[in-house]
Symmetry: C2
Subunit: 465 residues, 2 copies
């Protein structure tokens, strides 16, 4: 017995008949073209192959499986040639993209199609690159998922609406494959939510009971086709527990709103000014040109930069309420909401206890010598330790965030290179621009998902803060 | 061989011949009067009895030793009667004072004289009140100190100049008896400084090797007349290590300035404003009427109140750079130097991790119910925990320090009673008044003793910050 809410949701999220027919038709064309051209075995992978895609999300992944005796270089060359020939015959447009290997992204009869060369290895243990694993995933899921397709659709829609769907490094949420494995393991959507409501960090799911490696990730789902891989490796602690929160909220008070992506009102400049006035906090954005590398390279550097600049702010006395980063093709933004924009000239610095005579003497000599930073007070003794109050270098957060000191912290190679050229610092409602507005809106909105979801569950109301 | 500096200092601090003659004369009169009146054996105690008083500091302590078979009530009655009769015969003025017992404070021939009744017990182990111990101290020191009198004078003057002399609860420094015991134990002023330069917390000195109790004080000096008493019990960690600092400074670079009480310039209102501007900090004073009890009762309450109000400020987001208290007959002052006078309306409050389901639910319910304090943001999830940003009650330090919330923290009975009537809050240079100026000056000056002392050691210069 499925919940009536879920029964009502399903017709809206299942692939439509025309949609499916159209896809089957395009798939047929591609497979035929591939077989005619020869050299590799074409295979439909991903959610379209399993019928587990949400109505409207019909991105097509066609893998081209080559003989594993080929060299990597030969695979890349022959693979791209074949993919280009297929696209050339069928696509209205296509271009080369790059993950671990190059592949072709094409538009064929209105569908977004990836044509991905890989090795046709004997077993998942013999893979030569990550993409070689995908056909095994497809075969594993295809063989088991048919009775649970609706449950997978509910799970995916539920995760999407809650903002936790997608395993890219920026989202750090649930991949489609992870959704399918969770539904398979728990035997359905309701059972999965019941289990998730009680998840703890370190929860382990091992569908094939063949785990061969230890993991310290928040959620560990051993890949059924690879005993040494955690399918949930890219899921962050926060996305995991946002999902737990959603599961608890839905079980407590089920509603359709858990399956609809909420409207995210974009703040106007005046809204932003009002939010900051209401909270009494201070917003700063550092904007830099996005380095010309793929997100897998840049996003981790961006997160590291965020933590480093946050540390720089805290060391200089500026308490950070919240920080986040965002990335578009053109630019990357680091956002900092501070509790204060100004700190006193004076900073307390605690030295060693006096009974540690050698260190105490060294400390004293350092501050007696009258070098920088200038002493405003002390050294004096408090709780048996030397204390000095020294002059701060920066009393305004904006001065610090504009200073070259920003370049002295751990930023990651490409982010640093971009910032060595330039960065823009904005402050308060001056951070707002048509381009930054959606990012700033998400920055504040990201912090009220629970209130929003639970409210929906009861009152259906939706507001930003 | 004494240091030439010390040789030069001694003539100025030794009691003069006329001074000693005058004291001997007054002592003679009092002893004669006491013996004529009868009922108790009079005894000169304290530094005057031992010749270890600094030129000018000739306060006279005369104890009246009564038969220990008397009751406490009878002692108090007969003791006061005798003391009054002596004072009546000799003093230009006198009044009753109260420590553990009542006693008489009189002015006799220009000297300040305490006439203190006590029991003439057989041994220090048999004392019935703290004052009964004093005659034993006098006998112990008198018998041993003659060869070291100059060393004691140097020690006392050194401690006085450094601001660490006096065992009252406000000073928490070195008592005269403690100075004498340290000189006796180490065998002289230079040896004592050499030892003190290497003191650690918990340093133990037991002149008679008869310790019968454990102590956790910073410095432990077992009373030669009482194996269960630490003579240094009231010495604070900071006064102890300020003395250590002085000892190190003098040994490194001896100078007469270590024996002269420094000029303490009193800040003008304009000076205070300039100091606060230079440091960028914010000064607040809470002034209350001094409760009508002895300092032994009030000072610990005042210190407790200081810590409690400091905690209140920190809990409300106001970072305290430094805090101190002071007391006069008329009023008590709590001083707070803050890093900020204003905090954002919004306060982050971190809840339980979500995997602690019962606590998480309780937290969520609390904030969902929309009760006070108002939620400005969240609850949202960070590092697996619920975070809410709630409205602060006070965004201005002055509002908090004027509010009744001050009365909700641990203040001590009598301080609370005084504050329930009223307290004054002042801010910035508005804290300055002719009455508060010396206290405010000490508040800032107390924090540069090392710089001052070491500077004196080299350049002889003297300035406040």
């Amino acid at each position: 017995m499925r919940d009536p809410i879920e029964d009502a949701v399903l017709p809206a999220i299942r692939p439509s008949e025309e949609e499916q027919k159209h896809i089957d038709q395009v798939v047929g064309l591609i497979l035929k073209a591939a077989r005619n051209l020869g050299g590799a075995e074409p295979m439909v992978v991903g959610s379209v192959a399993r019928g587990t895609f949400i109505h409207g999300d019909r991105d097509l992944d066609i893998f081209l499986l080559f003989d594993p005796t080929l060299s990597r270089e030969a695979l890349e060359e022959e693979g791209l040639t074949l993919a280009r020939s297929i696209a050339g015959a069928l696509a209205t447009g296509f271009h080369e993209k790059y993950a671990e290997h190059p592949y072709i992204n094409a538009t064929i009869d209105g569908l977004d199609v990836d044509l991905v060369p890989c090795f046709r290895v004997e077993s998942a243990a013999a893979i030569r690159s990550a993409v070689d694993r995908t056909p095994f995933h497809t075969r594993y899921i295809e063989a088991r998922i048919p009775p649970l397709v609706d449950d997978v659709l509910l799970m995916k829609q539920f995760a999407k609406s809650g903002g936790v769907y997608g395993s890219d490094l920026m989202t750090q949420g649930f991949s489609g494959y992870l959704c399918e494995l969770l539904i398979l393991s728990y035997g359905g959507f309701s059972a999965m939510l019941a289990a998730a409501a009680a998840w703890k960090p370190g929860t382990l799911i091992d569908p094939e009971g063949h785990q061969a490696k230890d993991f310290s990730d928040p959620l560990i789902v051993i890949d059924p086709v690879d005993p040494c891989r955690n399918v949930a490796a890219s899921l962050s602690l926060d996305r995991m527990f946002e999902f737990v929160e959603l599961a608890r909220g839905y079980r407590e008070s089920p509603s359709r709103s858990f399956f609809s992506v909420p409207d995210s009102p974009v703040l106007s400049r005046e809204d932003l000014a009002a939010v900051l006035t209401a909270k009494g906090t201070f917003l700063y954005t550092i904007t830099l040109e996005t380095p010309p590398y793929i997100p897998d390279v840049i996003v981790p550097q961006l997160r590291r930069s965020l933590e480093s600049v946050k540390g720089l702010l805290e060391r200089n006395g500026f308490s950070v309420n919240h920080a986040d980063c965002a990335m578009s093709d053109a630019c990357c933004i680091l956002l900092f909401e501070l509790d204060t924009r100004q700190v006193p000239c004076s900073r307390r610095h605690s030295g060693p206890p006096l009974w540690n005579q050698a260190n105490a003497q060294r400390f004293f000599e350092k501050y007696r010598s009258g070098s920088s930073p200038a002493i405003l007070c002390g050294p004096y003794i408090e709780n048996g330790r030397y204390i000095v109050e020294v002059e701060r270098r920066y009393t305004q957060a904006a001065d610090l965030l504009r200073s070259p000191d920003v370049l002295t912290v751990g930023l990651g190679k490409h982010v640093r290179q971009s910032m060595e050229k330039n960065w823009d610092l904005c402050e308060g409602s001056g951070c707002w621009s048509p381009a930054s507005a959606p990012i700033i809106s998400r920055f504040f909105e990201r912090r009220s998902p629970l209130a929003r979801i639970r409210r929906k569950g009861s009152a259906g109301e939706d507001r930003l803060i």
